[in-house]
Each structure stands twice: as C-alpha cells, then as structure tokens.
Amino acid sequence: MGWLMKFVNSSIGKKFVMALTGSLLIMFLCVHLIGNLTLYFGEEAFNSYVSTLDIVKPIVRVVEFILALIFIFHIYFGVVLWFNNKKAKPVRYKINASSDSSTLSSRWMIWTGGFVLIFLVMHLSTFWYAFNFSGEVEIDGVHQYYIIVTDWFKDPVYASVYVLAMIFLGFHLNHGFQSFFQTFGWNHKKYMPLIKKLGTLYAIIVSLGFASLPIYFFISSLGDK
C-alpha cells in the first residue's frame, strides 16, 4: 500500500482524491434532490418516500457510512491542499487582477465549500438527527417527517441560511463539475466547452432545486398567519 499513500500525498494524487470524491458527491446531490422534490407532491408523498427508505435501513446505513467517508476525504484533502497552496503563495500582489484571468467560482472553492460545510453540520443536526434518533418521527402511528421539514423551513433564519448555502453550493458545483474532468485528464478540445456548460446548468438546477423548497414553504407559511 506504500505506493497508494505516496500517490495520494503527491500534488496530483491529492487533486485526484478531490476529483474522485467530488464527482461522487455530485451524483449523490442528484439523488438527494430527486428525493427532496417529493415535498412538492404533498405530505403523503414525502412521508411515504422517507418511510420507504426506513424499510431498507441497513442499506441506507451502509450508504451513509460510505458517504460520510467521501465527505471526510473531500473536506480533509481540500483543507490540506488549501494550506499547502497558501504556503506556496503567501504574498499577494498589490493590485488584485485575478478576475481578469480566472472565474470567481474557481478561486473561491475553499470558501464556498466551507460555507456548505457549516450548512452540512446544521443540516445533519436538524433533519438527519430528527429523522433517525429523536423518536419524534411517529405520533399516534402518523409519520411526522413532512411536518418536521416544513416546520424548519418556516423558520426565517433556517430558511435563509439554507438558501444562502445553496447559492454557495451552486458556485462550488459550477467550478467543481468541469474541474473533475480536467483532473482526471479528460480535457478534450471538442467536449470541454460542452462539459463546462453542462456543469453550469447542473449547478443552477441543483442549487435552485434545493433552494426553492425553503422559499416555497416559507412563503406559503406567511399565508397561514
């Protein structure tokens, strides 16, 4: 295994880990989003979706464990790379002209990613914890998943942090999507422009898709009062 450790400790090896985990997370977001969108089909649809996941709990647990590992690797290597890169360039230029030669999303990966991480902690400590461990998911035989989620979305602070995090996630994905192709070495003159456009489209769909939910439920809660 010595070769593998040496590989992941090299500059390109670390990038490879970032690209591999990043591409897997991109796929996970797609699945997650499709699940979330059942919220639009009402209480019954969402509750039955979540309780279906409950039936296959052991499989979900294995997937969660793998997912946690992917997240940990992505975050750990991202931070290590950021520290190494800072060390390589500790002094910035007097005039910052970096926007002339590169995009904002590409330069801000650590910050957009960092904010999404803060959101992730908040997200897990509310929904994931509530669904799995709080014991409040069933009252008198009726599933409470939909109520738990929509209650949180009615909280203006929670909803705005959620929306903000999804905007940051959009920027993160906009760069990350095409970036993993480049890191794997899949940069082809013919396909790269299309991949970049697809990445931007995917980023917009994912961030709008997720962010639309708290916006929708927050605005409809205003009507309830």
């Binding site: 010595g2 070769w3 040496k6 590989f7 090299s10 500059s11 390109i12 090896g13 670390k14 990038k15 490879f16 790379l81 190494n84 890169n85 060390k87 390589a88 360039k89 500790p90 002094v91 910035r92 230029y93 007097k94 005039i95 910052n96 002209a97 970096s98 002339d100 030669s101 590169s102 995009t103 590409s106 330069r107 990966m109 760069h175 095409q178 970036s179 480049q182 890191t183 794997f184 070495g185 899949w186 940069n187 082809h188 003159k189």
Partner: protein, 256 residues
Amino acid sequence: MNNENLNLALHIWRQESREAKGKFEEFIVTVSPDASILEMLDEINNRLEKEGKIPIAFESDCREGICGACGFVVNGRQHGPLPKTATCQLHMRNFKDGETIYLEPMRATPFPIIKDLIVDRSAFDKIQQSGAFISFNTGSAPDANAILVPKEAADASLDAAECIGCGACVAACINASAMLFVGAKVSQFALLPQGQLEKYERVQEMVAAMDEAGFGSCTNTYACEAECPKGISVINIAMMNRDFIVSKFRSKEVES
C-alpha cells in the same frame, strides 16, 4: 497615432536581497508611447546611475518575446495586461497618460526574490533536469524519417514545446502551481513516439521534482493559460494528470 509622451506614476518593488524587506518606491516619469516597458526601466536606470543611486534590477535577454528571461507583474498581471505577450513586448502605448502602474516581482515561495524584480527560477531547472529528456545513444544523427511522427502529434508536441519557461503560470496562479509548465514539458515528449518509451517514468520524476520544489497544486482556475505569453493550453495539464494517475496505478512497484 498619438505620439505625445506619457506622464506616469510608477510604483516599483525595491528589495536589496533575499532576506531584506522590500517596499514600493515611487518614480514619476515621462516616457514615449513607443518605448517598451523595459526601455522605460532602462531610461530610469540611466538616470539613477547618473544620480549615483542603485539601478532597478530586472531580467531580460532577447527582448523579442522568445527567451523567457524577462517577466514581472504589471498591475497584478504577469507580463502586463496584453494576452500572449511577454513583458519585453509590452509597449507604453498600452497605458494611459497619468496612469499609476505597480511593478512587482513574481510571488511564489519556490521563486525567492533575489533583488528588486528578479526572482530565482532555478526550481524550473531542477524539474527539467529530473526528466525532460529522452535517453538516447549519442553518435551520428539518426535518419530523419526512421521514426514516423504523425502530423497531429508533431503539431501538439510543438505547441507544448513553445513554453519558454518564463514562470508566468506560477506567478499568475493563486496557488503558485507550476503545473502548466510541467504539463507542457511532460507532454512535449509524451506526444512523440520517441518520448513514449519513458512516458510514465518521466511524468513521475518531474511531478516529484515539482512537489519537492514546493509549488502549489492546481485548482483548475486556468489563470495560467490566460497569462501565458505563449498561450500554452491547460490540456497539457490534463494530459500530465492522466499520465501520472495511470503511471501510479499500472506500475508494478508496490512500495514506490
């Protein structure tokens, strides 16, 4: 064409030695729009020498944009604001009368400042020495057509070989990554049949030398490509990544 002289306020980085603390020094100059930025510095240096002051240290050689010796940061842009232009080819007509211009050395830990605008780029030499060659028996020149090279491969290889090793990619990168340079140097050989024999060893050696020198990693911002005076494509980085990853997985060595 406007031939009126330009009045400029220059802020130039002055640093006596590697260890010394540097600072910007202001020079108010009147310069012809036809002068290159290096000729403007020559004029300032003539004046400084007459006044018995220490001239501004900067590097240059061919002044034709083909050697890679010159290069500093002009208003935050390596080699100045023009695309695919080396510093020596940057003329003052690209600036406006009354403009303030900041001239700085390239900033990167593996490129320590020697004096004023000159940095030590020997890290690039070390990377080159680690693998940018083809092992070949010397002797009489081989027959030109003994090994056939497809036109496409020759073109792509020559595009990569256009790299003049000026360091602009490192200077422009937020991470001071040298991957465009190393990518070009790896690919120019890997693309040719003669270079393919040692393709995987070469990429491993050169990436190891790059990491050893302390360059950052690539975030794929592609600022290097935008600032490269020779327009080297980031496809060379992708090719290097691919070769490096493949080389690590296919190599039979368990411990290396």
